[in-house]
Amino acid sequence: MPKRTDIQSILIIGSGPIVIGQACEFDYSGTQACRVLREEGYRVILANSNPATIMTDPDFADATYIEPLDVRVLEKIIERERPDVVLPTLGGQTGLNLAMELVEHGILDRFDVELIGADAEAIATAEDRERFKIAMTEIGLEVARSGVAHDIEESRRVVEEVGLPVIIRPAYILGGRGTAITSTLEEFERAATHGLECSPISEILIEESIAGWKEFELEVMRDKADNCVIICSIENFDPMGVHTGDSITVAPAQTLSDVEYQQMRDASFACIRRVGVETGGSNVQWAVHPDNGRQVIIEMNPRVSRSSALASKATGFPIAKIAAKLAVGYTLDEIPNDITEKTPASFEPSIDYVVTKVPRWAFEKFPGTSGVLGTSMQSVGEVMAIGRTFPESLQKALRSLEQGRYGLNCDPGEALFDGTESDHLLELAATATPDRPFQLEVLLRRGVSIEVIFEATGVDPWFLDQMLIITEERSHLATRSFDSMSRREWRRAKQIGFSDAQLGYLWGHSERAVRDARTAAGVRTTFKTVDTCAAEFEAATPYHYSTYEDTDEVQPGSRERVIILGSGPNRIGQGIEFDYCCVHASFALRAAGYETVMVNCNPETVSTDYDTSDRLYFEPLTLEHVTDIIESEDPLGVIVSLGGQTPLKLADQLPPELVLGTSPASIDVAEDREQWSALCNRLEIPQPAGGTAVEIDQALVITKRIGYPALVRPSYVLGGRAMEIVYDDDHLRRAMAELAGFGSLGKEGGLSAERPVLVDRFLEDATEVDVDAIRDHTGEVVIGAVMEHVEEAGVHSGDSACIIPPVRLSDDTVSVIEDYTRRIAAELDIRGLINVQYAVKANQVFVIEANPRASRTVPFVAKATGVPLAKVASRVMVGATLAELRIEGLLCERVESDHVSIKEAVLPFNRFPDADALLGPEMRSTGEVMGIDLTPGLAFVKAQLAAGTRLPESGRIFLSLADRDKDLGVAAAQIFSQLGFGIVATAGTSAALEDAGIDVDLVVAKLGDHEGVHAVDLIQQGEVQMVVNSPRGRGPRADGAHIRSAAGLANVPLLTTGAAAVAAARGMRDWSHHPLRVRSLQEYHQGTTTDQLSIEWGSS
């Protein structure tokens, strides 16, 4: 059946900001969909609020709406674009939920728009747990015993029938939010209440707990002719009880016999047919009882999912791309498999390697969280590794995490468990935590039996035995030394996945010495190919992984090759923005005739799509693996400055002549405090007073000189890791002790003379400014944008909203900033991108730091101004001049005069209810959104809405402000008051407001007081529609923390800085005057916002 010709235009709903449970895998799937549908000749309209995505590049859709993913906004887009159909299955849970809202609001009917991929009925059958259970029972599949409840009374009745332990799952949630296992009635009451709150429709499923069972997933595809195939089977290393997004998972399934696998396959097909997903991909999750094989269906996602991205990367079968084609009417047999080119997509991939995915968590960023894994997803990213065997792929995956581990122990990190008795360690391992695999290896090394460990942890004996192979090999290697290893022994050690660094650790030699001895013995890495067919057919697509076998399959081409090092797992501080930069570099360099070679280990990304580059190496970003690839490719050079800190850290270990762009020596000047200060002095650019310290005594000497408050931060980290503002000596001591401790930064290398702590005077109430710029080898500098932060200095730039163009800075100040940036770029001899951060206080500009690399704002700047910075920079790095690129047309003029762009951070506090929802110098946001409109106020409101905060249009606003925020608070309250909001305040704040002539409706009592109304109660009772609460220095966590926590739980908009309150107030004012308007990025970039409103710009 050929594609549909009755439709011309397709609306694709993206997944919005990166949040826990929904990461850049949906950029990968959405990008594929946009690309393939445009190739098919359809007009593609895209809605997504996330500017860091590739899919929101204006090149990928005909009309790209970077607008809030909100049903009212989508309605406007539909009204304006009149698409024929909506494809909702590629934008994660967000896309699916929005599609359902569009249906429920009658919007699709009104504009005669059809849902393709999955219809409302299918979505509801899969998503509504009760309906799903009935449907599955109807077709004879087994489900866990369960019942549904909508309130606590009903919950109690259900649990009586089902019996404890039970698992509670809220309906219509994402990433398992609010899900919990409980085994006592008391726990149950609490969890049920929380679950009901988490569900947007206040519905929870209470079911028999199948914790400890084996867990599997099958990725299913179906076309409209009802052909069904399984793309990939996945087995979880962690048994049921840990959210699959937080589990180590392995493809293909390892311990299912064919009889069981085929039963599961048949049942998965029955499931997708019954649910009624007409076309596309779905994943079906299964629990299998380890003792009797009983198969119970857990859930199915009627859409492309995180697992589909993993399955695509694991097999080479591009699920999202095929799903998009199926949605427009093709059948699987009509679509060629683009890896083999000769065979069709209607087959089931066979693989001849093992894939292991390991999640990456960020518990260290959220003090107060337990670090225990459970049924609610908490990881912020993941890595995938490919090896010929499980031990090899597991070890590669663990070192891909970039948490200082070399593999499965056999590294300095293993010392963590030295002092722990085995009995206790076994108890610890019984609870799933990020440390569990390492704990298991230690137990095996100490001789604890597989049976005992299985009993305690539920980890399948096959997996444990595979780990034991690693352990036993280590014991053998410990009796050898690198000069006595035979070729066969070297090969075996490498086949089991030992890195040279692990062997160096074991033998007390350098990684380099190990590598030299190994290669002298003739044992070198070989690269194999991911080809969907286990080598049965020739592969046309060069997608490689390293292993130690007889033959190598890489065939470098004849053109000049550039290796681009990616950014590894998503983590807080280093996410999709850097993948965007790497992907853009690949696109730009390919277009310029280079052969591009991508190296990355993150399965969620566009960079690890085999279509993105000429060759893809799915490999850990460690020195050993990167060196192997350099040896294999013999490249012109390596790009290290686009993937964030990950590749930058490798720069000085690579051959310097191969590092493209800014030299490693310059990178070091920017990172090294002493050299950097000397540079600023030479240029006479002011910077906050400061110094470097390794010991507390040195730090105290510095603060004596510069005074408090001081900003304390480690060098060579990203995302403000462990950064803190200290107000006195004691506070400084605590901060230094924390930095020196193993638990936190120790994992990332610890403190040393090479990696000292930076101690700087902290400029309170300064305005922070970010600049992205590019310099070429002729010395020309192009300023990408000057961005003004909404929050004052002290809030990490990644967590702060920022605005293009600046609204509070004078033209003169902007000129000074641009001038400083040019001079710094020249002095550092930058070739490519540089990001410089400034603080402006009383019209004086201080430089804070310079990063000779792509920053996380690069994609935002590109979307705001229309200048493809990353593409331009990558060309500059291989020698093009800005002048040449201007002639070529790649470098264009910024478009910025008629619109305002605001980037807002999205924070994961709802996942960590025990952590305080405060912004500070340590970055904690997982993602970002962008609001574009004609005034700063409107753009701010859109940015808030996109970030999930719907600012109120009426009601009461509660204010509780620190003294230093009171001026701003008053300014904001004035506007709130004018807009007709009621004002509630604490006593102190209230006094300040009344002094300024603002009426306060209600003054709340302090939490401890017995008299009066408490803020927390008001929030819980829905009496307050917005909370402005700024913290008072670093005092004890008193009222403020409770208020913020209450606001978070009640889903009441919360602003924690005075600056944000003012921005919100202005936005609410503009919003009250002007109707919601949407415009595409293409229109903004053409500078043709034809329906330009004749409105006055928000006062600034």
Partner: protein, 363 residues
């Protein structure tokens, strides 16, 4: 850990692979056969016990083999007939509730020698490019292994069907019809499915048509089996007697001998189809089935007179099924019974039942 047995695998064209011995010891340090590769991810036991592999050394492309152990329920015949097995990694510990033992012990018990630690991907690519060929592995030196590979007939020549076929007739199943199944190397899963439709009398491959007709069956199944269909023995000459008198369903080798009997031609493929993921399209409906396959020979498309070609392989266009126009007979090249593999094609057994019922009504 037991002593490592250092082995080599040498192909007839001189390619050498290093590995170590698994399973039974080789006889005089050498095991030989035609080397083929199979791409299934699960189902190693069913593959190893499929009699169609007689004369062959099976290479598994999936690196971990033996993970879930073995169980008698998964045997496709009383014993393996393959000449050896090549794997990357043999599981030393298995884990599955169905398991009754480990694969290594199974191989030893049945006298099947194997070689592990091989770069099976290199071997697979070599066979893919050069075609399946004879090989020998074991502890003997390279020259001895090469000499043995050179002299290895593999699946050429006859005798393989006789080797695997039952010597005595026997009855399986309790279905309402009566079917005679020619055991050319039949798999037990095939008989199990057939047994649900019919009471099945399994007869030796050299049973005459007259003896079959004497049982007055409702239908005849021609089973799968090893080797070259032209060397499959008397079945090809007996078949014309059965055609038209009794409905016939041919599977795999059964499909090939039926085609020969109908006047078609067969040929040896470069490296055959061995796996559980092969897309086959029913050209009448457009539906795609993912099929389990195991064949090194195929029927030449267009060579069989008076048939409708019903199924093709989407990977390479190979003929995968046909229906005779004038007589009640149809056949498929692949394995609708699966074991191992997908169940997409089990409907063919029902079609066989319908054909038998229609034939019974008409006569």
């Amino acid at each position: 850990m037991s002593e490592i047995r250092e082995y080599q695998l040498v192909l007839a064209d001189g390619e050498v692979f290093e590995g170590e011995g698994i399973g039974a010891d080789t006889i005089d340090g050498v095991a030989s056969g035609e080397v083929v590769f199979n791409t299934v991810l699960t189902g190693y036991q069913e593959v190893l016990t499929d009699p169609s592999y007689a004369g062959q050394i099976i290479t598994f492309t999936y690196p971990h083999i033996g993970n879930y152990g073995v169980t008698a329920a998964d045997d496709e015949s009383a014993r393996p007939f393959c000449r050896g097995v090549v794997v990357r990694e043999l599981a030393r510990r298995h884990s599955n509730w169905r398991s009754e033992g480990d694969l290594d012990t199974f191989l030893r018990r049945h006298g099947v020698a194997g070689i592990a630690g091989i770069d099976t991907r290199r071997l697979t690519r070599h066979i893919r490019d050069a075609g399946s060929m004879a090989g020998a592995f074991g502890s003997a030196d390279t020259a001895a292994l090469k000499a043995r590979a050179d002299g290895e007939a593999g699946t050429a020549g006859g005798g393989l069907v006789d080797l695997v076929s039952t010597k005595e007739s026997y009855v399986v199943g309790e279905g309402p019809r009566d079917v005679v199944a020619y055991d050319l190397g039949v798999k037990s899963t095939m008989l199990r499915h057939l047994g649900e439709l019919a009471t099945v009398t399994v007869v030796p491959a050299d049973t005459s048509a007259a003896d079959v007709l004497a049982l007055s069956p409702d239908g005849v199944l021609l089973s799968n089996g090893p080797g070259d269909p032209e060397e499959a023995g008397s079945i090809v000459t007996e078949l014309p007697t059965l055609l038209g008198r009794v409905p016939i369903f041919g599977i795999c080798l059964g499909h090939q001998v039926l085609s020969l009997a109908l006047g078609g031609r067969t040929f040896k493929m470069k490296f055959g189809h061995h796996g559980g993921n092969v897309p086959v399209q029913d050209t009448r409906t457009g539906r795609v089935e993912i099929t389990s396959q195991n064949h090194n020979f195929a029927v030449e498309a267009g060579s069989v007179p008076n048939v409708t070609e019903t199924h093709i392989c989407l990977n390479d266009g190979a003929l995968e099924g046909l229906v005779a126009n004038d007589v009640p007979a149809f056949s498929v090249q692949y394995h609708p019974e699966a074991g191992p593999g997908p169940h997409d094609s089990r409907y063919l057994f029902d079609q066989f039942a319908e054909l038998m019922d229609a034939h019974a009504q008409a006569h």
